[in-house]
């Protein structure tokens, strides 16, 4: 099903079963299951403190699970660390660079630790780091630091990259550049696991979205499936005021509703699919109503996210 994934690669690159991780008496990850398919981009979404970073850092070998199993590229990230490390690319949520090192020399150094690194000049060009290549890390802006960290994660030509909040603090242009790079990685068969707070990022970039809350997976799937599944959608149109909606409601499936929100502005809620749309428009035709401005409001990933994780602010 993935003609663009490298031939012969194993289908699953990350496999987590029942992961539990505690810090003292606080449970950061509480029985989490996750599968990442080869050659895909998987976004891990969740409020602050949901356990996203802990999960990713367990895959990277930084944390030892208190329970459950974690396999990355078929290896145990702690016991097989020496074999795993050269094959993965890691972008930490912050830091990771000598404060006195210049951006370009740090990248060249990381390239030297690998057998077949990317062309450093091309990568610098690609991520727009040329203008700050001779600037020491401590003088880089937040966005430049994120882009350097991304470059450090991919320079070793890994099979799998873990990006922890890759676009936090980036301006829109840098954010686009990061997205483009992730897409290019995917097109070349690199698997990506990223954490993010941005719904649009998860929606436009990923093949699979995993919503995590309180250390557990609360929803998982293709972004479109998630938006479709369960949640109700809304159809709106305007017509002449005071239409009798009773006959429309009879024609609609059970569980639908129809009302006139303000004079002449109508709202239908329910499972909005092509069938429902056809029912509404034919009803309008029968009643000589021109449904102006007819529009379908799909649920965004943000709606799904807030529905699942609650609207209250997290610590």
């Amino acid at each position: 099903m993935h003609s663009d994934c490298p031939a012969g690669g194993p289908e699953t690159v990350v496999s987590i079963k029942g992961l539990v991780k505690r810090y003292g008496d606080k449970t950061a990850v509480d029985g989490l299951d996750l599968l990442v398919r080869a050659g895909t981009v998987t976004a891990v979404l969740g409020p602050n403190g949901a356990g996203k970073t802990t999960t990713v850092e367990t895959c990277e070998g930084y944390r030892r699970p208190d329970a459950g199993t974690v396999r990355v590229l078929g290896l145990d990230p702690v016991a097989d660390a020496a074999r795993l490390r050269p094959r993965i690319g890691v972008m930490l949520q912050s830091g990771g660079v000598y404060s006195g090192a210049r951006a370009e020399e740090m990248l060249r150094h990381m390239a030297r630790l690998h057998a077949n690194p990317l062309d450093v000049d091309a990568l610098i060009e690609r991520l727009g780091l040329g203008s700050c290549g001779r600037t020491s890390y401590r003088r880089l802006s937040g966005g430049q630091r994120r882009r350097l960290a991304l470059a450090l994660a991919v320079v070793g030509r890994p099979e799998l990259v873990f990006l922890d909040e890759p676009t936090a603090g980036l301006d829109p242009q840098a954010r686009r550049a990061t997205w483009e790079l992730v897409r290019e990685l995917r097109a070349d068969g690199v698997s990506t696991v990223l954490t993010t707070h941005f719904m649009d990022e998860a929606e436009s970039l990923s093949d699979d979205v995993v919503i995590v809350d309180a250390g557990r997976v609360v929803a998982q799937g293709h972004p479109e499936e998630l938006c479709r599944g369960g949640a109700e959608n809304t159809l709106r149109f305007t017509g002449r005021p005071g239409l009798d909606l009773g006959s429309l409601l009879k024609a609609l499936p059970d569980g639908s509703s129809a009302d006139e929100v303000t004079s002449g502005a109508y709202r239908i809620t329910g499972t909005v699919d092509p069938q429902l749309l056809a029912t509404v428009t034919s009803w309008c035709a029968q009643h000589g109503v021109m449904p102006d401005g007819i529009s379908v409001e799909r649920h965004t990933l943000e709606d799904v996210f807030l529905e699942l994780t609650g609207k209250e602010l997290r610590r």
């Binding site: 000598y98 006195g100 099979e159 290019e184 690199v190 972004p223």
Partner: protein
């Protein structure tokens, strides 16, 4: 169902096609050593500590009669002490501060996910210290010779003292860097440097201290190193076993504790 990612190009250019692998171990360690040495030699505060302060002290105390260094030429007394100070400045103070901030800025953590193994990183740090010390010893020896220093003794004993002193100070420096906050390490490593400079027989002979204090002070690693180097370089002793023993104990304690308590993040 590879239908996502609105504008995703589905056919790659091959630029990022996976080709993972670690560089050969020796190349990784050589690269890490070269990189860390470059960063160290470019760091103004580190140079002040490791080059400028020892050189100034050597010139100042050899040419101006500030401290009574006993009979004979004062440079013959001072040069071994300053060499000991140079070892301490690099292996202990400089390494503690640099490693403390590497840890604070997540460098140790990030390199932990690179192909370079942790022991490879520590080997590179040690080599970086040794390279710096060779440069320090060469510079300080030239300055001392210009000031009329006439060293005695065998090279073997001097090298053994320098290596064991380096090991002892590295252990203590890494213990500090791996357990304390970076700012605390910065302050504490500088304070210890000054205290040991004054009370460790570097420029002030231990004989100037009261007898009770002297017996304690001579057990310090800096006293053992400066005393051992002085025994060889000034008095032509063949092998100062007592001082080597003291350094050996500090090495075991320091490296052992660093190995047990060092935290990478």
């Amino acid at each position: 169902m590879s239908t996502t990612a609105d504008t995703a190009s589905t056919v790659g250019t091959g630029t990022y096609a996976p080709a993972p692998g670690a560089a050969p171990l020796t190349r990784m360690i050589a690269a890490q050593t070269a990189f860390e040495t470059k960063l160290l030699l470019r760091n103004g505060e580190q140079l002040l500590l490791t080059v400028i302060i020892p050189s100034l002290l050597l010139v100042l105390f050899s040419t101006v009669d500030i401290v009574d260094t006993g009979s004979g030429s004062s440079v013959d007394f001072l040069a071994p002490g300053i060499l000991a100070l140079a070892v301490m400045s690099t292996a202990f103070t400089g390494q503690a501060i640099a490693t403390g901030f590497d840890r604070r800025y997540g460098v140790l953590k990030r390199l932990g996910a690179s192909p370079l193994p942790r022991w490879g990183l520590m080997t590179a740090k040690t080599l970086c210290v040794l390279v710096t010390e060779v440069l320090q010893v060469a510079l300080l020896a030239v300055i001392a010779l210009l000031l009329g220093w006439s060293p005695h003794g065998g090279v073997g004993a001097v090298v053994l003292l320098l290596v064991l002193g380096t090991a002892a100070f590295s252990g203590l420096g890494l213990l500090m860097a791996g357990t304390l906050k970076a700012e605390v390490t910065l302050a504490a490593a500088n304070l210890v440097f000054i205290l040991l400079l004054v009370a460790g027989g570097v420029i002030v002979p231990l004989g100037k201290f009261p007898e009770g204090a002297r017996e304690v002070l001579r057990l310090l690693p800096i006293s053992a190193l400066s005393d051992g180097l002085r025994d060889v370089l000034r008095h032509g002793a063949s092998m100062p076993w007592g001082d080597l023993g003291i350094l050996g104990v500090w090495t075991v304690l320091g490296l052992g504790a660093a190995g047990a308590f060092f935290r990478w993040e």
